[in-house]
Amino acid sequence: MALFGGKKSSFRKEDFVRTLKSGDHKKAYEMLAESKPEDLADDNEVLFSFIGLKYLATKEMFSGKLKVGNLDDLEEAWEFSGEIERFLGLMIYRFSLDPKYLPRLVDYLELLGRCEDAIALINKTNPKITDPELLNKLGFLNWELKDYRAALDCFKKSLVYASNPIIYNSMALIYNELGNQVLAKKYFAEGLKSFPDDITLLTNYGVLLFNLGEYEASNNIVSKLKKYNVGTNFLHAGIGKILPPEYEIDLETELKRHPKNPGIVLEIAKYYLRRGDLGKLIDFIVAEVKNGNDSPKISTILSYAYYYNFQFSEAENTIIRSLGKYSNDITLLLALIFLYIHMGKLANVIPVLEKIKTVDPMYIESLFNVAMILEGANIFTKAKLLYDWYVKVSDNSSGKFVASLKLEIIDSKLKVRKEEKHNETIF
């Protein structure tokens, strides 16, 4: 039995962990409320849970002079443990030592549904924001709080510093949500001018045009999307709305024909996703998971449903929680990368790749191979991203050498492309 803190006579770690896992933050915090971080320094798990819980209860950041070693090891071990409060504590502590941890800290506050706190923290620590990554983060947080004006303001500012398809897409979706389809179309079109092959922009623009009755224009986009095999590999909720009738299935007959099991649940979930019935899909999976029909693939589909329904923290949360149960599942880890890519949280990808490397290093080699495919298709920015990840994560020294060379080559090609564009503008 472990004893800690000011209430040495009554504290039991087992009780604390059980309370924490039950989600009762208040009670868990009260068990240690009279403690000081120094009293808990013997046990990192309790210490960082306490720092996280203290913030959640009092909004008080850590400001002591405590020294903890091996922070990188702790981060690696805890990132996908599902213990979000503990990880939040670690991020708060790391942020107290180095401000570069702000974006990750903000991510975890968002994950815990503390969007207001995350916004306040960003504004407090950065009175005048010019970093597009932080502006985007603020934009997404405001969007989640349905403060559309503030979200649009952040996204507009961000586009001044860096062009980004996710931001064009987000602005168009916000205008669509506000019922202003004219501006929604404008931002999709502007985004596609800079990123003509962006799947998300194309898909959402296609759906908007379809909803506006502009069928010919919508069909043209569908034809372009078919090149990418959208709707057959992983199923996209948006494109599902404009899929031809052969994708229909008789759901009631299917349900009667097969007793419920995770395989059938998955098929039905995929069907809902394909049709774009996100509300039904979410209700259906949540109920089935409660019935015990749980699997990493089902969590992945649920996460995609949340994502396409613009419930970004729920999407991320679903995967992180499921990783707490199935920590080595590649489907979940890849889904997390998908979310981070499409939510613009690129800095979060590296730790996931590090985890994937321990499960199946062949996926790391795939980063290099896919980068080559994208480079060959002149999709330089994405190729660059993959080579960069490969260099950071791979253990293959020859491969890293080649990838570094390729990064230099791509940089020079992008420079030439930029100069050509500049000259075009001049002439």
Binding site: Y228, L235, H236, F338, M362, L367, V370, I373, E375, K406
Partner: protein
């Protein structure tokens, strides 16, 4: 025999007996290549399999008129195995990246091995299947990574 001591260094031969390795080694010949020397040429005919005993080689391919490095192979790796079984031209150029020593087996030697020692030939085929299946698995994983942008 030098070839057999080289073969013992390859991971794929770990489970082979010394006798089988000795037998198998007889069907290989050794070649050395200086830095930048071309070992096989993209689109050329050729029916040899190579085992890289020492050094490093660079695998290149012409993409949209440019030579792109696909990979650097290190000692202990196999390449050119597909050409023993199909008649298609080489899919990439392989050039010596460092002074390198390679063991090669051509189609005639492979046919001879099959005729003279079916058991060793079948073990060798198993090794080739393992190599190809690893490459197929890698391709499947490539598709999964690629689809991160396509869903």
């Amino acid at each position: 025999m030098k070839q057999s001591s080289d073969l013992k260094k390859f991971e794929g031969f770990n489970s082979w007996s010394d006798k089988d390795i000795e037998t198998f080694a007889k069907y290989f010949e050794e070649k050395t290549f200086k830095v930048n020397e071309i070992i096989v040429n993209e689109q050329s005919e050729g029916q040899e399999l190579y085992l890289l005993a020492e050094g490093k080689v660079r695998v290149e391919r012409q993409v949209m008129g440019e030579d792109q490095t696909l990979k650097i192979l290190e000692s202990g790796e196999i390449f050119g195995e597909m050409s023993l079984f199909d008649n298609y031209p080489r899919s990439a150029t392989v050039r010596s990246f460092e002074n390198s020593r390679l063991l090669l087996m051509n189609k005639t030697s492979y046919d001879k091995l099959r005729a003279e020692d079916a058991e060793v030939a079948s073990k060798f085929l198993e090794l080739i299947i393992q190599t190809l299946s690893m490459r197929l698995r890698q391709t499947n994983k490539n598709l999964e990574i690629l689809s991160l942008w396509l869903i």
